[in-house]
């Protein structure tokens, strides 16, 4: 099945060719969780602080379905 993974801020180094406004489209067989997806993309889990699936906060264990969009961030803040 197809899911989209977008990496932000310092995590962009694990997908250096990814354009700023598009995620990586990945074909992965179910069952699939966020942590499995990140490992397949070569992203060390200990670098990831915030995960959103379809615009909601999620954890590493969240199961993914076809068409899901996953956004991953390192620790970030501002304001």
């Amino acid at each position: 099945m197809q899911v989209e993974l977008q990496l932000f801020a310092t995590l962009r180094k694990y997908a250096p060719d990814q354009p700023l406004d598009k995620g990586l489209v990945m074909n992965v067989e179910p069952p699939l969780t966020v942590s499995i997806l990140l490992e397949k993309a070569g992203v060390p889990l200990d670098k990831v602080k915030i995960i959103m699936v379809n615009n909601r906060h999620a954890g590493f264990d969240q199961e993914l379905a076809a068409g899901d969009r996953v956004a991953a961030f390192p620790p970030v803040a501002g304001g």
């Binding site: 959103m52 970030v76 304001g79």
Partner: protein
């Protein structure tokens, strides 16, 4: 013990006074709010002779405590009618504190029109006529004053907007390179300065870290601890220096809480183009004077500031921060980074609060005065209309609530007539509680619930649920009041919330500097006292629980993509200050 500089604009005098005992342990916001509450009648007209504007460095400012160079500016606000404190970085606060000045209080009103410059140096202070600077933008003014009085002067100034007493006029200070743009932006404090005929305050000294410290050895030990905490925390050691605060654009967009086109959606299709990541890319590609990891004052170890270069590598604007980017970008449907940086520069020059300007532009776009996404028209509105005080420029200068009224709109994102910053309260509900109940109108810094709602700093409270938001906002509002008194940059709070030895190190610093024996518990009581002082002033000025509410449209209109409304009950909002 320090001294207070009292400047009377009716008499045109500037005199030093001893600091009353009751103010000895107050600094920054604690001191500006105490002085305003004690000396300004709550029914004073904000632009009249009885209002006062107070400038105060924080308790730790002028020492080598990391990130401790904040300047608080306080008065009764012409925008909200409440008490107001807004604080900024830049180099001026450290100079004031190093000269032993705990506060500058400016009162009265000149008998006739005319501008003055307050010059403070190591020998004293005097008012000098400044008519030649009338109408001048903050860039030319700062450059001119550096030439006349010496580079490295600290300059607190207003642009034409402040001179015209526009309700969204801010107060600027400068950085080490001599650029204005470190703004105590919110609440129209620039209009109060303008009403007093005070174009600028110039502080001429090279002293930076010369505030007295009673126990230098203990102080140095505490400084080492806080510096270590800031160096260890990944937010303050990686994300902020690499991407600036606009690293938040993408995360708020992903969370569905990035207010877009006057708060009509929580997602902006052009977010990536105006993100912190895009700014870092532009800085790397254009080179020249552009940079990330820029410090706004000596002793800042976080370095969240940036210099955005134009295509030739010259300085376009510094800094371009998250809230300014959002206000002048996504909230206006503008996805062109160069337009946003130019709009930001114009705000800095004309003397406009970037947030209120962007929120007002969003309302004017909703009204059809200009089109969403039209960066050129927005630039023209600031540079021609606002700068010159045309009728349309004055409409912008009145702020978002006024613009909404003039054009008969209901989607007007304000609380106590102050425009909401860059977090939609329907999708980041903790910020809704803060906006509704803040003593200053809609303000994000005063209780930054984004920490636990979005960033997972200091725990996690689901941003889409009403539960837990009141407690979160209350605790943050109390802690923030204390941080705002310390002179520390609020960004130290990310480490203070997450690293257990960080907050005790701040208390140790204050004890070592002032010879006190405060505890961590005292910090929270100190914060509560500041809030009580501010609430009491507002109550006497006529504010009630009915003013601690979000605009009705946020309870009625569902925000995409989550299709949520703001649903924290009114009776819960009324418990925020139950302490």
């Amino acid at each position: 013990m320090g001294k207070i500089l009292r400047v009377n604009m009716t008499e045109l005098t500037a005199k030093y006074e001893d600091v009353p005992e009751k103010y000895a342990l107050l600094g920054g916001r604690a001191l500006t709010s105490a002085l305003v509450a004690d000396e300004v009648p709550p029914d004073a007209h904000p632009l009249g002779e009885n209002n006062k504007i107070v400038f105060a460095p924080g308790l730790l400012t002028g020492t080598n405590a990391p990130c401790s160079g904040r300047l608080s500016v306080g008065a009764k606000s012409p925008l909200t009618g409440t008490i107001k404190e807004s604080n900024a970085g830049g180099i001026t606060a450290q100079k004031l504190a190093s000269l032993g000045i705990k506060a500058v209080v400016v009162e009265g009103r000149p008998p006739e029109d005319g501008l003055h410059l307050l010059v403070i140096n190591e020998d004293g202070a005097e008012l000098v006529p400044a008519g030649k600077f009338a109408g001048m933008g903050c860039y030319a003014l700062t450059r001119g004053l550096w030439q006349e009085y010496g580079a490295n002067s600290g300059i607190i100034s207003i642009g034409p907007a402040g001179e015209m007493r526009m309700a969204l006029a801010g107060v600027s200070t400068n950085d080490r390179e001599g650029d204005p743009g470190r703004y105590a932006g919110r609440g129209g404090l620039g209009a109060v300065m303008g009403a007093k005929g005070l174009k600028a305050v110039l502080v001429r000294t090279d002293k930076t870290f010369d505030a007295p410290v009673k126990d230098p050895e203990k102080f140095a030990e505490a400084v080492r601890k806080l510096t270590k905490a800031l160096a260890e925390h990944p937010v303050t050691n990686q994300a902020l220096p690499a991407y600036g605060t606009a690293v938040l654009i993408n995360i708020l967009n992903e969370a569905g809480g990035l207010p877009t086109r006057n708060f009509s959606s929580g997602r902006f299709e052009g977010a990536a183009k105006v993100s912190g990541e895009a700014m870092a890319e532009a800085v790397a590609q254009r080179g020249g004077k552009g940079r990330t990891g820029h410090a706004c004052h000596p002793g800042c170890v976080i370095r969240c500031s940036n210099i955005i270069p134009d295509a030739k590598g010259e300085v376009l604007c510094t800094p371009v921060e998250y809230e300014s980017t959002w206000a002048l970008g996504p909230n206006c449907g503008i996805d062109n980074l160069d337009h946003i940086a130019m709009l930001n520069r114009l705000c800095n020059d004309v003397g406009l609060d970037t947030i209120e300007t962007g929120v007002t532009l969003g309302v004017l776009m909703e009204a059809g005065v200009l089109a969403f996404g039209d960066g050129e028209a927005a630039i023209n509105l600031l540079d021609r209309e606002a700068r010159n005080g045309t009728p349309l420029g004055r409409i912008l200068g009145g702020g978002s609530a006024l613009a909404g009224k003039l054009f008969g709109l209901t989607r007007v994102p304000t609380v106590k007539d102050q425009g909401m910053p860059a977090y939609d309260p329907r999708a980041v509900k903790g910020m809704g509680v803060t906006y509704a109940t803040s003593t200053m109108g809609a303000d994000h810094t005063i209780g930054y619930s984004v920490t636990a709602n979005i960033l997972k700093v200091g725990g996690f409270v689901d941003p889409l649920q009403a539960e837990g938001q009141v407690d979160l906002s209350r605790n943050l509002q109390v802690a923030t009041a204390a941080v705002d008194a310390s002179g520390l940059c609020l960004f130290t709070a990310f480490a203070l919330l997450d690293i257990d030895y960080a907050l005790p190190s701040v208390v140790d610093m204050i004890n070592a500097q002032y010879g006190t024996s405060l505890t961590v518990d005292d910090v929270f009581n100190y914060g509560k006292e500041i809030l009580k002082t501010e609430r009491a002033f507002n109550a006497a000025a006529g504010f009630t629980a009915a003013h601690d509410r979000l605009p009705e449209f946020m309870k009625l209109e569902k925000l995409p993509p989550h299709q949520v409304t703001f649903d924290v009950p009114n009776e819960e909002l009324d418990t925020v200050f139950n302490f």
